[in-house]
Amino acid sequence: MWRRTRKASDFGAEIEAHIALETERLQEQGFSYEDARSAARLTFGNVTRVQERFYEASRWPEWDHFWQDGRYAARMLRKSPGFTAIAVLTIALGIGAATAIFSVVDATLLHPLPYPHPEQLVSVIDDLPGVGAQDVGMSVPEWHDFARSGIFEYVSPLGGGDVNLTGSSQPTRILFAAVPPNYFALLGAEPELGRSFNPEDATPGFTLEVLISDRLWKGAFASDPRILGKNIRLDNDLYQIIGVMPAGFHDPGRTAAERSTELWLATGFAGPPAPDPLRASHFLAPVIARIKPGLTMVEAQSGLDALVASLQNEFPEDYPLQSAWRVRLVPLKQTVVGDVRQSLIMLLGAVGLVLLIGCVNVANLLLARASARGREMAVRQALGAERSRLVWQLLSEGLLLSLLGGIVGIAILFCAKEFLLRIVPDSLPRLNEVSISWPVLLFALLATVIAGVIFGLAPAWHAGRVDLNYMLKQEGRGSTGSGEQARTRRVLVVTEFALSLVLMIAAGLLLRSFADLLQVQLGFNPQNVLAVRTWLPIPNDPATDIYRTPAQAAPFLREVLRRGRTLPGVEEIAMGDSAALPLGHGREDLNRYPLLMEGREAPSNGAPLVDASIVTPGYFHLLGMTLLRGRLFGEADDEKAPAVVVINETFARTYWPNENPVGQRIKIRMPGDRTTFAWNTVVGVLADSRTESLTDPSVPEMYMSLYQRPAKDLAIFMRGRLDAAAIPVELREQVQAVNPELPVFGAQTLHEALAGSLAARRFSMEIVGLFALTALLLAGMGIYGVISYLVSERTHEIGIRLALGAQRHRILQMILRQGLGLAIAGAAIGLVGALIVAHLMAGVLYGVRPADPVTFGVVALLLIAVALLACYIPARRAIRVDPLVALRHE
């Protein structure tokens, strides 16, 4: 019953009418008007009391008090605009930043995947823990076994890449996904036009039907209404469009690139160009599946374990015991989000700390004001205000402040949304789902209320414990500040310093990690190198492939290199496959092959996997890699010469720890691969270089000659003073002069690749750094406030000291020592917190120990220096005090 059904004025009118009627009645009995009226009033009793009773009975008084407090708080805030502005901005900053980070967390970690019943979707991952290999891929027979197991509704491997599309308005290179016909049924997705594949289709190779994305339809086909049934060519093979997927549909990929598939091909993964469907031929990865409804993850996993065990018994030669084949189910969402989780949680923690420090700061400001208003509070209490009402009033001031801050913060966020999304690296999963949604706003509201309660509580708590006599006796003095209040403010400042130190050490560690990464010996020289990609078509029928063997491809390769060398600025040119692209490639570009070594028996599944790149001889010199022993391969090592291979130091150390690797023979091949390759002789050993990953120095790598082993996914590397805008176009002309069918795309300097591989790290470092600076600034402001308050309180005392002949520098020391004490206490507590946080962060650090003494020391000193600076300003004011003025100060 908080809504009044009847107005108080109406009630008042009724009472008025009553008294008038009664007066009239008494007048009729012969009394004079005055007597009648006073008698009527007398019989009525206490009008005010009756009205109060009406008032209390007909509404919820708390609600009323709430409004009253709110109005009062608004008046107080209007009266001190400077204070209000600082407090609101501090909170706005905290709430805005926290909401921004939360919106990313919400989209990536909290939202379910955008498919029906996402909880049933899993990734199916094959591991060989016996040989230390993870995610080795699945073979076609295994896929069929799993699909028939009764555990899953559908199982679906995902392949893909990019392909040359002709038949649209102009030839384009598009991203495609090769999926089994059950793929869309598995995800529960329907096309917006036409139909999707028949999930029961068992064609071993590619079906001749494709689905295209809404974007491709609207772009390359100009929203052609007669798109269904249209024929197109992909790498010269003919396909028919049967449907268009809606704009909102995305593959469950990790990054924007993986999710922007433009065309889906259906395949059984068992016909050309796929390898023979042998049990040992593990090439299907990633594999996703939908668990049968009613089965839990645990039940599905134990069913799968039983199936794996029985398959191991049935095919002992394919699943040797020592490789310990295992299949693991992981919720699909987890694979999609990947390792971003840790960084995001770190950012959320950091922003939470900033918000908390902001709260502490505002609490400090409020407390300073509360001490100035101590008398007002005491007077109100003396006049009969209940303590709870005063506490509520101060709390509502806090809430109003934080509400204003929250609104400003969200407003800024709305305005800066576009800009903020641009500085977030593209590699963030589910980036396009980030939005300021209702849950995000709810979070902001919750954060606002909690913040308001946190910083409204400190002054409110004190207001509830005021000593009336003491307060009122402080004759004529506006500021009193009980000892207890001053102590609370000091505790708040120490808290602030501790929290800031934690943030700054986190930022320092990230900064050092980043600096270490920039200092890393790359082992190659990315200076002035530009890579452009091209792709030789892979027709479904190998017989029609004009670049099938190295002998067939070599003339083309040599001609492109010859023409490229003539381009302006080009000093060196070389080619490689996409695995040869340093750093800039995604996981799908890695070629990990089982390695066979001559003279050593390796079980088919026990073979170690190595990264292999295929390059032309000029590659090593162009990238500035160092040869340690043996020789590099040259132009003479062509298809007619014995096959050779160059390995890196880690490779040599791993497989021939005590032998000379030069002269050893190795080969790599997919088990079940139809093509048989000869043994490769190791001719040289290169110094390690970080072409795979900046953070991982030791990856065994091997390089084969493009003239001896064919590759389709080509990259052309050029070094020189290149015009990055013109050279890709000029190169395209040269490539297409040799073969007009070939696409030339993806131009990127190695510097861009380097920057790209660091983007996510740089982002989290910059954000945490920004937060840490904010925290430092807030903590500095906090200590400044406390010390200047202290100084103004002690002006009188300082005046006496000066008058008695105290040295000014002694006074300066005295004040600085107080500030220093607070800073050191804060730093000491902060160091403990920072140690804990640093250990939690270990996973995102590189090259620096979590308890790095340099970072801890430097940050602590910096914090103390800032504290001293913040104290120096009020301290200087103190020693400039004129004793005469100070003594009169009352």
Partner: protein, 116 residues
């Protein structure tokens, strides 16, 4: 005390005012002052009703939907708020009256046995 009348009047028992108001309204719509008058007159001026106490009670009864109210004109042409018994109020009156009768009968019996 607000009234320093010649005769000492009986103060109302807690909760009986509601019953008296409902009972008074059974004769038709009446305003607050009229109700106060009626209670005093019908009780032969025995009962002490502080007029002010009437209004919170009226407010309470109105909220419980036992009476309804409307502004109207009194006999001597004054604006006044008139209260009417609702159907629910009538039922409540019956309930309360029988409760009251049982209560007074019981208390009467006890008092008589003590005397006897």
């Amino acid at each position: 005390m607000t009234t320093q009348d010649t005769r000492e009047r009986l103060e109302l028992l807690q909760g009986t005012l509601d019953l008296l108001i409902l009972r008074t309204l059974i004769f038709g719509a009446q305003h607050g002052q009229g109700i106060a008058r009626a209670i005093q007159q019908t009780s032969d001026e025995e009962l002490l009703v502080e007029h002010g106490a009437l209004y919170p009670a009226l407010q309470r009864l109105e909220e419980r939907k036992w009476i309804s109210a409307k502004w109207g004109i009194s006999r001597n042409n004054r604006k006044a708020r008139f209260y009417t018994l609702t159907a629910a109020g009538r039922k409540q009156l019956v309930r309360e009256t029988s409760k009251w009768n049982r209560l007074t009968a019981a208390i009467g019996r006890i008092l008589e046995s003590e005397e006897g």
